[in-house]
């Protein structure tokens, strides 16, 4: 789908600013993911492979989101 460059700029900027504000590297994200999954696995059976972690913008505050499917 054709996208106007104004929208592309806005989306790139949003992601960039999010990363700036959180100042969180990809390695850190991976470590958080590993630790959280390990902790949850102590209590319930989860699908490690299909788990996702990402940061989103919510009301101008960064939001850390986990998607952890339960087996």
């Amino acid at each position: 789908m054709y996208e106007n460059s104004g929208n592309i700029a806005r989306d790139r900027l949003k992601y960039l600013i999010l990363k700036d504000r959180v100042s969180c590297t990809n390695e850190t994200i991976d470590m958080i993911k590993y630790d959280v999954l390990k902790t949850i696995s102590n209590y319930i059976d989860v699908d490690n492979i299909n788990s996702q972690i990402f940061i989103e913008q919510n009301d101008n505050k960064p939001l850390l989101i986990f998607k952890v499917p339960i087996k």
């Binding site: 106007n4 104004g6 700029a9 900027l13 960039l16 600013i17 700036d20 101008n60």
Partner: protein
């Protein structure tokens, strides 16, 4: 009670100096007593934008170092009653003054009974920025609708907050209306949503800024300049008046084109 407003941006070349000159001049046109300080030590430019480059005798660093009195260094703009420039030093660098000295300087300007002190901040986040914001109780962040400029503005807004400047507003500069209309440029709401600060004004990308800067006459004083009107609105808002944002509409299509447009819009009201 005088107000100290720093004009800042992070990124260079987005229009800090032009904005400082226009806001300062605009406030003087509204009868206020104003000092505009060029805090960009080593890269002095505000004097040129204001057309006062041939009138400089002393500079800000010389006042701070006690080589002259404040009154000797203030360049009075003869065209606008109540408007003064305190020029930056050209042959020194930003590390030669401290935030404390800047505060002291602004206090002595305040005691001369000025209504507004406008500080033109240098680009960057180093010593020059720290000096420029030290005495400010308000900040105006200038940005353009580009990723790099808005990203830097976001960093600057966070730093202003960290330095306890809570009254920060946004000037979105150099909007190209026809590009925004085609959605090929970020618009005000995109930038507002990301930066989450109140908008003080929007300035269209306007040839009259180039021509007025060429002549050293701020656009705010030019009646038929669109950017000048945008700056006059900003000045009114600084003075506490409620003024709607300038409605920026793309230039009307030629008669031939509008006829074609007419075919598509007919019957839609």
């Amino acid at each position: 009670m005088s107000e100290v407003i720093v004009v800042t941006s992070g990124k260079g070349g987005v229009g800090k100096t032009t904005t400082s000159a226009n806001i300062g001049t605009g406030l003087a046109l509204r009868g206020k007593r104003v000092v505009i300080i060029d805090a960009d030590i080593g890269l002095r430019n505000l004097d040129v934008v204001m057309g006062l480059e041939n009138r400089i005798i002393y500079d800000l660093v010389q006042v701070i170092e006690g080589q002259c009195r404040l009154k000797q260094a203030l360049v009075r703009d003869k065209r606008y009653e109540g408007l003064y420039l305190l020029p930056a030093a050209q042959t020194r660098d930003k590390d030669c003054i401290t935030p404390e000295q800047m505060k002291k300087l602004c206090n002595s300007i305040k005691s001369e009974g000025f209504d507004y002190i406008i500080i033109d901040c240098p680009a960057g986040i180093e010593q020059g920025f720290k000096n420029a914001i030290a005495a400010a109780n308000k900040a105006i962040v200038v940005t353009t609708p580009e990723i790099a400029a808005v990203r830097d503005a976001d960093r600057i807004i966070a730093m202003l907050e960290a330095n306890e400047i809570m009254d920060t507003t946004l000037v979105l500069n150099r909007i190209r209306v026809s590009m925004v209309a085609r959605n090929e440029m970020m618009n005000l709401s995109d930038v507002e949503e990301i930066l989450a600060v109140e908008t003080l004004g929007v300035i269209p990308d306007d040839d009259s800024i180039v021509t007025s800067t060429n002549k050293g006459e701020p656009a705010v004083a030019i009646e038929n300049s669109l950017a000048g009107k945008a700056y006059r609105n900003i000045v009114s808002r600084i003075l506490g008046e409620q003024v709607p944002l300038l409605e920026l509409v793309p230039p009307a299509p030629t008669p031939f084109l509008s006829r074609i447009f007419g075919w598509f819009t007919k019957g839609k009201g």
